[in-house]
């Protein structure tokens, strides 16, 4: 059974990773922090008496469930927001508004700089994180659990509630997609 100190150490070791994983999924720092806090509280409240060795898998499952819950809530909220915004839409609004017009083009010097010098580690990380965020949910989960959380295929399958074959497929697809996307940007890991 994990003692209070062991639980604290465990949470301390996973909190930053959990936050980043939540950010990749929801792309919002505040929402990600809420998700991580909920997952931590659920772990401590319901599974705080579990052996220390079980905590990583349990926490991963809780975190993934919290992320899925967040998406479910967002879906419901967006449905209501769309409904009400359509009702209150003014007739004099510009129909020909193109969001692309409002985007500013990158500075030419930036492009030159990007092409000229090697990518620094932070830029590399940014590219990697951006590509990870674009991955389909299941592929991202499998990839992060396998390589970042260092869970075995069996544990990942358990956490994702799917077969080991599916985990291998998701992981392989995620890796191929990421490698290809980074290669397109001129990055090879």
């Amino acid at each position: 059974m994990a003692s209070a100190q062991e639980l604290s150490d465990f949470l301390s070791s996973v909190e930053q990773r959990a936050f980043k994983q939540a950010v990749y999924a929801v792309r919002d720092d505040d929402a990600a922090l809420d998700i991580v806090q909920d997952a931590m509280i659920k772990l401590a409240e319901k599974y705080g008496d579990r052996p220390e060795a079980e905590l990583p898998l349990v926490f991963t499952r809780i975190l993934q469930n919290r992320i899925h819950d967040w998406f479910r809530r967002q879906k419901v909220r967006n449905a209501w927001v769309t409904l009400f915004s359509n009702m209150g839409k003014k007739s004099d609004e510009r129909d020909d508004f193109d969001p692309l017009e409002s985007l500013s083009a990158p500075d030419e010097s930036e492009i030159h700089q990007d092409g000229a010098q090697k990518l620094e580690q932070s830029q590399l990380l940014q590219s990697l994180e951006s590509e990870i965020s674009k991955l389909p949910v299941r592929q991202r989960e499998a990839f992060l659990m396998r390589y970042w959380d260092e869970l075995s295929i069996t544990e990942t399958a358990k956490a994702m509630n799917c077969s080991e074959g599916s985990v291998k497929t998701h992981c392989s697809r995620a890796t191929q997609t990421l490698a290809k996307a980074l290669k397109l940007k001129g990055i090879t890991l």
Binding site: L33, D49, Y147, W148, K183, L184
Partner: protein, 153 residues
């Protein structure tokens, strides 16, 4: 373009995954201070609602008993703890069944005794005519007249 379409082998994919994870771990270390603070606060909040540890009950130790009886997860007291109520329950059920049987036999015996010691033979009660006779027959009239005469005397 051909180079882009080339698929990674399993070993290359695995290496790519591990290298990516190393990069991601490094990135996670450099979170802004405000995020770290909020994560710390979240951790403290979680620890404050932690499920309390189960307190192990001190089990009685009898003189002369072996230490292994009272120690370890499957000690004798653990076994006795669940076995005793089961035994009591089984004996209780057997007792209740026995008592119900006895009570039923006693009831039947009482009815039998009443029938056998009665003046009228038991077969008479099975006869519908006899029941009608009891209700309306001359026996009731003669009993009434006998009672009347005894009163007049």
């Amino acid at each position: 373009m051909k180079d882009l379409d080339k698929q990674l082998t399993d070993a290359q994919a695995d290496l790519f995954g591990r290298t990516s994870a190393t990069l991601l771990r490094q990135g996670a270390q450099n979170l802004p201070a405000n995020i770290k603070d909020r994560l710390h606060a979240a951790r403290m909040k979680a620890l404050s609602v932690r499920k309390p540890e189960k307190v192990l009950m001190q089990k009685p130790v009898f003189a002369g008993s072996r230490a292994s009886w009272t120690s370890g997860p499957n000690s004798l007291w653990d076994t006795v703890g669940w076995l005793a109520p089961v035994v009591v329950l089984i004996f209780g059920l057997i007792g209740i069944t026995q008592w119900q049987n006895d009570s039923r036999i006693n009831d039947i015996a009482e009815v039998d005794a009443a029938l056998l010691t009665d003046d009228v033979p038991p077969d008479a009660y099975a006869d519908s005519g006899f029941m009608a006779f009891l209700k309306n027959g001359p026996l009731s009239d003669s009993t009434d007249s006998a009672a009347d005469s005894s009163l007049s005397k």
